[in-house]
């Protein structure tokens, strides 16, 4: 095997069974080698680029936590002036995307740079030890939204970043999951070949942060979709299209009970009330995106 | 080195006047420097701008405290602001007013009054007096020549607007020359 030609190479320091590592590998299958990757500070940046052991077979740049979209703006501008045609693709975590980097993302999307911004969404700050982000789901236990005697974990639902970026006029916005590899690869291909700023949010379960065995990463990712807590869809010019349909949507319990971050909803005794609230989120998603296959 | 202080109100073009005077002086072959009293003043507030003239490179960067010349764009400032403050003996104060000045003028300062508003209205159709006053200043001070001033005005304003401003400046220039 000619591993030198691989775009995301062995030897990186992700946990065994890492969802984001798998997502990175699949994303690069979609972008191909004619790509410049812009990374934010985060777990993926740290596990893939300790000097001099980079895992990236494509040109890759990291500057700061919150400025990937601005750095990408400059790169795209420079390539344009030089007459070069590489795809400029940001690959950033949810903390960088939902929280600290929103200013730069909003600016880059408003200016209409020809970039693809991909968020690998593992629903918390994993690099610093599992703190809550704007992408953390309702009731998830993190180190800064801990479940306790008077808390059931994170108090707010996930921020709707796809809608925010669609509202910027992005012509292609999609959600995907590393548990559906071909769908993810296809969406990345479509995004990099769609002019202007485009956004993909990739569900990337984190076995360490969410508390499950690394062999279950794909299953957890599928369960999120099968329960309706994560919806795979595309938005073309702001209109939702191509929703991944689910036949016989599973109760959210099946997704929650296999992750330590939701264990407080089941022990010492089952919290029916809170589980019902999460079921309501899934039901709302199913209604809003017409997820159910009849 | 000679120094000029311009008193005006925000929106009256005092800074532009200073710049035009400096450009015209430079056109005439001497060193000049123009700068505003840097502020956050809005339209109507009293403002100042400064010009220096010298035969050698100007290094001094402080504001002008002891001017050889003063231009007052709006006579309502006289009284509100000490427009004659620090003026040198033999200095010239050029004041835009339609009526007689009723303030005390420091000894040794020559005051020239001109109804620049009327001249501006006549030539430009608007009461923007800065280019008229520059014409008058050119005549009163001898720091800038009329052709250099015309060149500066034409570099600043487009076509017809330049013509009007040149006409206003020339009229004022000749008016002061005739009176002198």
């Amino acid at each position: 095997m000619d591993r030198e030609s691989e775009l995301f190479q062995c030897g990186h320091r992700a946990c065994g069974g890492c969802g984001p590592a798998l997502a990175a590998k699949l994303i690069l299958k979609g972008t191909g080698p004619n790509t410049i990757v812009v990374a934010s500070t985060g777990c993926m940046e740290v596990f893939s680029t300790p000097y001099p052991e980079t895992a990236w077979g494509v040109p890759w740049i990291h500057s700061l936590f919150e400025n990937a979209a601005a750095v990408a703006s400059g790169i795209e501008s420079s390539l344009k002036k030089q007459g070069r045609d590489e795809h400029v693709v940001c690959i950033c975590g949810d903390g960088a995307t939902f929280d600290i980097g929103v200013l730069c993302i909003s600016g880059a999307f408003e200016r209409g740079h020809d970039i693809t911004y991909i968020c690998y969404d593992n629903e918390a700050y994993m690099n610093t030890g599992i703190q809550r982000s704007g992408a953390t789901p309702y009731d998830a236990n993190t180190t800064t939204s801990p479940a306790g005697k008077c808390s059931t974990g994170n108090k707010r639902p996930k921020k709707d970043m796809p809608a925010i970026l669609a509202a910027h006029g992005a012509s292609y916005v999609a959600t995907a999951s590393m548990a559906y590899p071909n769908d993810l690869i296809r969406k990345v291909q479509r995004a990099v070949n769609t002019p202007g700023p485009n956004y993909i949010q990739v569900h990337a379960p984190c076995c360490t942060g969410w508390g499950f065995d690394g062999s279950q990463t794909m299953k957890i990712g599928r369960l999120a979709v099968e329960t309706g807590l994560w919806v795979n869809f595309e938005m073309i010019d702001g209109e939702v299209e191509h929703v991944r349909k689910v036949a016989n949507r599973k109760p959210v319990e099946e997704y929650l009970e296999v992750q330590k971050r939701f264990r407080h909803l089941f022990r010492p005794k089952k919290n029916e009330e809170e589980i019902a609230k999460i079921q309501a989120i899934a039901d709302h998603n199913a209604g809003a995106f017409a997820v159910d296959r009849n | 080195m000679r120094e000029l202080r311009i008193h005006g109100r925000g929106g009256q073009g005092s800074v532009t006047a200073a710049e035009l005077i400096a450009v015209a002086a430079f056109e005439g072959g001497i060193y000049s420097q123009a700068f505003p009293s840097f502020g956050v003043e809005r339209r109507g507030a009293p403002v100042q701008a400064f010009v220096r003239f010298s035969d050698r490179k100007i290094r001094l960067r402080s504001e002008v405290y002891e001017p050889d010349y003063v231009i007052v764009q709006d006579s309502t400032l006289v009284g509100d602001v000490n427009v004659f403050g620090g003026m040198k003996e033999g200095g010239i104060a050029l004041i835009n007013t339609e009526k007689e000045l009723s303030v005390e003028v420091p000894e040794g300062v020559k005051v020239i009054v001109i109804d620049a508003t009327a001249i501006a209205l006549q030539h430009l159709g608007v009461p923007i007096t800065n280019t008229t006053l520059i014409g008058a200043f050119a005549a009163a001070s001898g720091e800038i020549a009329l052709p250099a001033l015309e060149k500066a005005l034409r570099a600043r304003f487009p076509g017809k607007l330049a013509d009007k401003n040149v006409a206003a400046a020339e009229y004022a220039y000749n008016l002061i020359k005739g009176e002198a």
């Binding site: 601005a70 400059g74 730069c104 | 420097q33 100007i58 290094r59």
Partner: protein
């Protein structure tokens, strides 16, 4: 050709002649006239650059970093709070060895909010790994841009540079400036030849993280590049002098220092007023001179020591203060003169746009003569 124009526009003309491919900037007083002028030049096809209207200074410098990493010569300008917002990126640009050139229209830092001039903004970023050059007048502000690009892009240096000139006092002042032609600048400043760029044909990872096994060595290399920059600046400044007749080979410059007993030390536009004050004092028989610091980073300690070898008292005019200590320039001059026995007195002056006149300079020289220093000069004690 000698022409008279606003300082900001003189700088914009210089930047145009340096042919940046990408400009990213955000408006802030008193810098704005520079980037407005550049935007007009791009709009009129006088300058073939991509002008990115970013949403913040933070993004301005981030975009410059990206464009520089992709192989373009880049430009930005800012001041004060805008520079502070860039703080994090400044360290990043330097550590990634991108030769970004940025104009700083020096302005005070809030609070209290103040749009006027002092040099607290750039001084506060002295540790970031950027070279910092300070201009006395708009001629120097113009010339330092050509020199800054050439020094920054030298492969012995590869560090970003700030060209600092005093907000309002220079940015908004019309005065004559001799601006070289585009052809002359082309001959002096060759196109940017980057190393380690983002290129799909030759992939490279930039901005990796360094563990404790490597981090110190990378910092050491930045420091070594700074040291080499001293000579590169002197060489480039001398070459500029041979080409254009204005010599910038000195990281410092003396004025009537030869037999001076008291030396004033200053940076930026205040130097002009100091020179006029010195001429007056000289006529009265006072042996006073000026040492102007042109390059604050790299700091020319050896040159300062040599230039001030004969004086008995040094009075530093600091348009900044390292709160809890003294003025930054005085501290560093003291370090340069350590062991020589020369007395260094510090005067915090002209903060937040407080005007400084010849008589103030003379008063400072008098205080220095009496050995009274290390104080704010010109405080309005009646409001305290």
């Amino acid at each position: 050709m000698m022409e008279i124009l606003e300082g900001s526009h003189a700088v914009a003309e210089a930047v145009k002649r340096c042919r940046p491919e990408v400009i990213a900037a955000y408006p802030i007083t008193p810098q704005t006239h520079i980037v407005e002028a550049l935007a007009s030049m791009v709009a009129d096809c006088e300058l073939d650059a991509d002008y990115i209207c970013v949403e913040s200074e933070f993004s301005a410098l981030s975009a410059c970093l990206g464009a520089s990493a992709a192989g373009s010569r880049v430009y930005s300008a800012t001041t004060s709070q805008g520079l502070a917002l860039m703080f994090e990126v400044c360290f990043n640009v330097a550590g990634m060895r991108q030769p970004v050139v940025m104009t700083i229209a020096n302005r005070a830092m809030g609070a209290p909010l103040n749009i006027w001039n002092d040099q607290q903004d750039s001084i506060s970023l002295r540790d970031a790994g950027w070279m910092q050059f300070y201009a006395e007048d708009n001629q120097e502000a113009n010339d330092l841009h050509y020199i800054a690009y050439k020094v920054a892009e030298d492969h012995d240096v590869l560090l970003p540079a700030m060209v600092c000139f005093d907000g309002f006092i220079l940015t908004h002042t019309y005065e004559p400036v001799d601006i070289p032609t585009l052809e002359e600048v082309d001959a002096f400043l060759p196109p940017y030849k980057p190393v380690n760029i983002l290129d799909a044909k030759n992939p490279m990872s930039l901005g990796m993280y360094a563990t404790p096994d490597y981090y110190m060595e990378f910092r050491y290399e930045v420091e070594e590049a700074m040291k080499r920059a001293r000579k590169v600046f002197a060489d480039v400044g001398a070459e500029f002098g041979e080409t254009f007749g204005r010599d910038y080979s000195g990281l410092v410059e003396g004025y009537r220092l030869e037999d001076a007993e008291i030396a004033l030390v200053a940076m930026g536009s205040i130097c002009g007023t100091v020179k006029d004050a010195i001429d007056e004092m000289r006529e009265e028989g006072k042996k006073v001179g000026l040492l102007k610091i042109r390059s604050f980073r790299p700091f020319p300690s050896e040159e300062i020591k040599a230039a001030l070898a004969g004086v008995s008292k040094v009075a530093v005019l600091d348009k900044n203060i390292s709160l809890g200590q003294k003025g930054a320039v005085a501290l560093e001059v003291k370090d340069a003169l350590y062991g020589t026995g020369t007395e260094v007195l510090d005067y915090i002056v002209a903060l937040g746009g407080r005007d400084i006149r010849k008589r103030d300079i003379r008063a400072v020289a008098d205080l220095a003569e009496k050995g009274i220093g290390d104080q704010f000069y010109g405080l309005r004690t009646e409001v305290l």
